[in-house]
Every structure is written in structure tokens, then in C-alpha cells.
Amino acid sequence: MTATIKLPRMLWETANTEPAYDVEGVVVSEILDDLFRQAPGLRNHIIEETGIVRPHVSIFVDGFQSDLDTSVGEGSEIRVLHAVSGG
């Protein structure tokens, strides 16, 4: 499946990446693997050392909150969002 993944500005600006990538995969984990292949510096910011998505980061597929096993459809739009918190 070919999908588009969009990143929050706070992340892509500081990590020196593109704001969005065309990515391949049938589940979110594969989508992220393709994203990290294209932009290796993003892995640490989205995935913890233990391999899980960071606790204050959410992955949405076509508007629905998802996890690493969620299926991705052809043309899906995937968004990486961070929690609304801080001061």
C-alpha cells in the first residue's frame, strides 16, 4: 500500500526532515519502518528505546487513533501528533 504520512511542524522543522513522506506498508509499523528508512533521524523521536511509540505521541490513520498493528489502506493519510500539554 502506498500512503502519505504527515509530521507535526515542531518535529520536522527541528529534525531537518520533510513535513510529509510517501510511504509503503500494510500496517503502521511497516509504514514507520519506511519513514525511518527515508528519514533515519525520526526514529528516536517517535519510537522509544523499548520499541513502542512514545507515550505522548499518537498515530492516526485516516482520522482514527491507531497502533503499530493497524492496517493501512491504499492512499491512506497517516498523521503523527503529539499530546497537547506543557507550558
Binding site: 515542531m10 527541528t14 528505546e49 503529539h82 499530546a83
Partner: protein, 342 residues
């Protein structure tokens, strides 16, 4: 003159122009800039972090354009430790050292691009007894003299290596414990060092701002003695030794449970006798109360009489005459955790 400042919300570059200070920034908007440093080839280094996206290491030739490295220091997954923050960079020879939280040391031999853990410290036999303090479990200061290395870890203590970083031993004899009864057995670790400074010309003489007070060692940390004569409080986070003049600087705060200047009087204290006694450093201090703190990384100097420090209230103070006269700079920034004179 230029001053780089790392804050809770980005990095800023202050440049003096016509008697005022231009503020360029923020770089890394929204990110905490926890440490600033310089690689052996002169490349600027910045450590950033956020509550959402973890830590990152950035490199720059001009402090204007930055490039993130692919991987910051990382803990192996099997250790189940979190890389919470890079607290300090220390460059010695061709190597950059990074002190991090959860506490540990990493080294880079390529200017901060890739990092290797310092196993002798990170997996020390006492590690199971390391417990975090209010600021977390962080390695925040590194000092190096040839094969002798020191690292300061909050709520754990000072460790010294005499073999270039291969093996390490705790060095806290004479330092008071924190949070234990006076008659309790002295633990091997659990000493809350806040900052250390030494003079490269006499590196075994080290000054220590500890949670429990101000100390000096003349033997590389084997024995510590209190040196608080003239200080209004023993608590604080700053200890700075000016290599040129031998003058010491610290900034006392009231106490652990009230980390502000005593009676709101923000003052640097200095010593011209290696810490035997302390007095207020010069003039220029505001008569108005300033209940603000100064953190360990927020004090920097050029060892030629120019020093700058930033406060948790976002203000900067500068002296150009080795602490005789101080000036509060006009710009107001977010909470300051790192200052570097460029």
C-alpha cells in the same frame, strides 16, 4: 561578543551591538535546549529534548543553521532505561563526552555524530543503589586531566577514573549525606553533588557545590572538606573556577526546599583564597528582590575575566572585569539552563 543561551523553549544567540543586545532566535522552537558544547573541530553542539519526542543532538558551523544527527546517545533496549536528557558536553582532545539522564556517560570520537556508552561507569557495581533526586538521575559534569577523569552524578556522587575511563570509584569521603539520619551508616553512593570545578593547572584540587554544602578536595576527591565561610547558604548549583585569576565563583540559594536567593538578594559570591572565605562579587546587583534560581549549566566564562550566567527567570547577568562589576542584560528569555560564551 556573543552569548549562546539554551532555554526551556529553544536556543537564543545574543549579540552586542551599539551598547544593546540583539536577540536571534529561537532555534529549535518549542524544544528544551539542555546543553551546549563544541566539538574538537570547532563545530557547535546542542542537545535538545522534548516531553513528546525525546532527545536529539544537533551540529552547526555558525550557530544559525543546524543539522540533527541520526542517533543521539541511546540506551540498549535490554537495559530498559530511558534517555531522558543530555545534561552536558565535555570536549577533551579528540573526544566529546556526554553526561545524560538516566545517568550515564557516552563518548563520541566523530564530533557528536555517533556515541558509545562508557560501560565502566554506566554498569558500575553500585548502579543498583543509584536513586534519582528532584532533578532526576543525571550525570551532569565531567572533568578530565589526562587519564584521570571525574564525573558528577546528582543524588549518587562523584566518581573518579584513574585509567582513562575504564574503571571508576566513588569519591565522596567527607561529604554529608542527604535524607539520612546523622548516625546512619555512610552509604557508598547517594551523595547529591550539584556541580564540580577544577583548575586545569592543579586538577586534583576540586571545588564542589553539593546539595549539602560547599566543599573542596586537594587530593582528587579522596577527601572533601567544607568551605562555606562567608556564604549566606550552602545550597546552590554553580561552581566556577576562573583559570586565569584563580578566582572561584558560586551562587548561593537559600535551601533545598526554597531554591531562591537568600532574602531574594541574587548575588554571585567569589573567593580569592581557594574557597577559604567568600564575599559578594563586586557591584551592580539589583536592589530589587529577585526570587530566581541559577542552574549548573547556566554559568560560563572565558577564563579571562568575562563571565555570564542565566537565571530560571530568563535573565542574563554579565561581568567583563572578573566579577568586579555586574550588569543585568535587557533581554528576557524563557527559563535558562545553558549558557555558552562564543
Amino acid at each position: 561578543m556573543k552569548i549562546a543561551v539554551g532555554t526551556e523553549k529553544g536556543a537564543y544567540l545574543l549579540e552586542e551591538s551599539g551598547g544593546s543586545w540583539n536577540v536571534d532566535g529561537p532555534r529549535f522552537p518549542g524544544w528544551k535546549v539542555s546543553a551546549l558544547g563544541m566539538a574538537p573541530d570547532g563545530t557547535y553542539l546542542a542537545a535538545v529534548g522534548s516531553n513528546w519526542f525525546g532527545v536529539g543532538i544537533h551540529r552547526s558551523d555558525d550557530f544559525a543553521t543546524w543539522q540533527q544527527t541520526e542517533t543521539p546517545p541511546e540506551w540498549p533496549p535490554e537495559l530498559e532505561r530511558k534517555m531522558e536528557q543530555v545534561w552536558t558536553f565535555h570536549t577533551s582532545g579528540d573526544r566529546v563526552w556526554a553526561g545524560v539522564a538516566e545517568a550515564g556517560l557516552f563518548t563520541s570520537d566523530d564530533g557528536g555524530v555517533t556515541w558509545d556508552p562508557v560501560a565502566g561507569l554506566n554498569e558500575h557495581r553500585t548502579r543498583g543503589d543509584w536513586q534519582p533526586g528532584l532533578g532526576g538521575l543525571c550525570a551532569h559534569r565531567v572533568k578530565i586531566d589526562r587519564d584521570t577523569h571525574w564525573v558528577a552524578i546528582s543524588s549518587v556522587g562523584v566518581f573518579r577514573s584513574d585509567d582513562g575511563g575504564e574503571t571508576w570509584e566513588p569519591k565522596d569521603d567527607g561529604v554529608a549525606t542527604v535524607g539520612l539520619p546523622e548516625d546512619a551508616p555512610r552509604p557508598e553512593v547517594g551523595y547529591c553533588v550539584h556541580c564540580i570545578a577544577h583548575d586545569p593547572a592543579d586538577p586534583r584540587r576540586i571545588w564542589r557545590q553539593d546539595h549539602s554544602g560547599v566543599y573542596r578536595t586537594d587530593d582528587g576527591g579522596d577527601n572533601w572538606e567544607r568551605i562555606e565561610n562567608g556564604l549566606p547558604a550552602g545550597f546552590g548549583f554553580v561552581m566556577w573556577r576562573d583559570a586565569g585569576s584563580g578566582r572561584l565563583f558560586t551562587i548561593p540559594l537559600e535551601a533545598s526546599d526554597n531554591r531562591t536567593p537568600v532574602n531574594g538578594a541574587l548575588r554571585v559570591y567569589r573567593s580569592d583564597n581557594d574557597g577559604d572565605s567568600w564575599t559578594v562579587s563586586g557591584e551592580g546587583w539589583s536592589p530589587a528582590s529577585q526570587f530566581t534560581g541559577v542552574l549548573r549549566g547556566a554559568f560560563d566564562g572565558d577564563h579571562e575575566g568575562t563571565f555570564c550566567f542565566g537565571t530560571t527567570g530568563g535573565k542574563l547577568w554579565l561581568t567583563r572585569d572578573n566579577g568586579d562589576n555586574w550588569q543585568e542584560l535587557a533581554p528576557a528569555l524563557p527559563r535558562i539552563g545553558a549558557v555558552q560564551l562564543l
